[in-house]
Amino acid sequence: MRVFSGQRAWLLQRVSVLLVLVLLAVGGLRLLFWPAPSYEDWRSFASSAHGAVLIVLFFGAVALHAWVGARDVVLDYLQHRAVRFAVLLLVATMLVAVTLRVLFVLGGQIA
């Protein structure tokens, strides 16, 4: 897949980590300077449009970043094609499952 090759993957990895760091910093500041949110606060945040967008952005960026990083490690250390393919498939399945789970939970919250 060209989108995950060479320069694009390299850029994707860097842009995604920046996004994750910004969202973590904003979340950290929120927890640091405001009272700790209750369960209901988290629910209402996840149910709101902007909250859902931020959560999807965060987990999407984590998944993309993790994919490029894991792929790089696999390309470096695993030389056997079948093993390489199996590990990449496993990683991709896990990341897609986590992302789908996030979408599923958010869908339940919004609905």
């Binding site: 090759s5 060479g6 320069q7 993957a9 470096d76 250390y77």
Partner: protein, 231 residues
């Protein structure tokens, strides 16, 4: 002075071994290569490459006490005993300290390390401004000793696909050349998950270059040029 030298002769040995030597440097011996020449007087089967003996040809690159370098410019006074000498890591061994450089030079040739310019040649020469010429400093001085590629874990992992720091330094030498008109093709060739992007910015190449060059900086400049081109 005590030396431990990697020995392997594919004609007679099934496995490599380390052999100890105790050789006294002569009054005029200053560099490791001088001592290796004395080892040869004791055992003329010890094999290593050497030519210019002044850090220009890059023939005598080897792993010296765990760090790649050129024997001819490695002062004896700087070495801790026993001096352990091994062939360049990650390279197939031909014999003793001599490695097979075929793949290394194949990567070097793959980046087309020559000036490409489709304009009609001028009567005398293709001129450059002093600033354009200055941009090549730190790039053209590479002597292709392979100390950098032989110290790069990414090159050890994918020696057949990753161009390696030496090849990429040469690639950038022509990307940065104001007289070259094949920049786009050069960048297209390198925009690959293996050729350029196996570099993980470990920077061993810069750390170990006996000429004080910085292949990792050149690699970063290639990446930056690619981003600038696509934005």
């Amino acid at each position: 002075m005590k030396l431990r030298i990697y020995r392997f002769d594919p004609d007679t040995d099934s496995r490599p071994r380390m052999q100890d030597f105790d050789v006294q440097p002569g009054p005029t011996d200053r560099m490791l290569l001088d001592l290796l020449m004395r080892v040869r007087q004791v055992d003329d089967s010890v094999s290593f490459r050497r030519s210019c003996r002044e850090g220009v040809c890059g023939s005598d690159a080897m792993n010296i006490n765990g760090r790649n370098g050129l024997a001819c410019i490695q002062p004896l006074a700087s070495l801790k005993e026993p001096v352990v000498l091994r062939p360049l890591p990650g390279f197939p061994v031909v014999r003793d300290l001599i490695v097979d450089m075929t793949q290394f030079f194949a990567h070097y040739h793959s980046v087309r390390p020559w000036l490409i310019n489709d304009q009609p040649p001028p009567e005398r020469e293709r001129l450059q401004s002093p600033a354009d010429r200055e941009a090549l400093d730190g790039l053209y001085e590479c002597i292709l000793c392979a100390c950098c590629s032989g110290f790069c874990p990414s090159y050890w992992w994918n020696p057949d696909k990753f161009v390696g720091p030496a090849g990429l330094l040469q690639a950038y030498r022509f990307i940065a050349d104001s007289r070259d008109t094949a920049t786009a093709e050069r960048l297209d060739f390198l925009d690959d998950v293996y050729r350029l992007y196996r570099c993980r910015t470990i920077m061993n190449c810069t750390e170990v270059c006996p000429k004080g060059l910085s292949p990792s900086h050149a690699i970063e400049r290639i990446r930056r040029t690619m981003v600038e081109r696509s934005s």
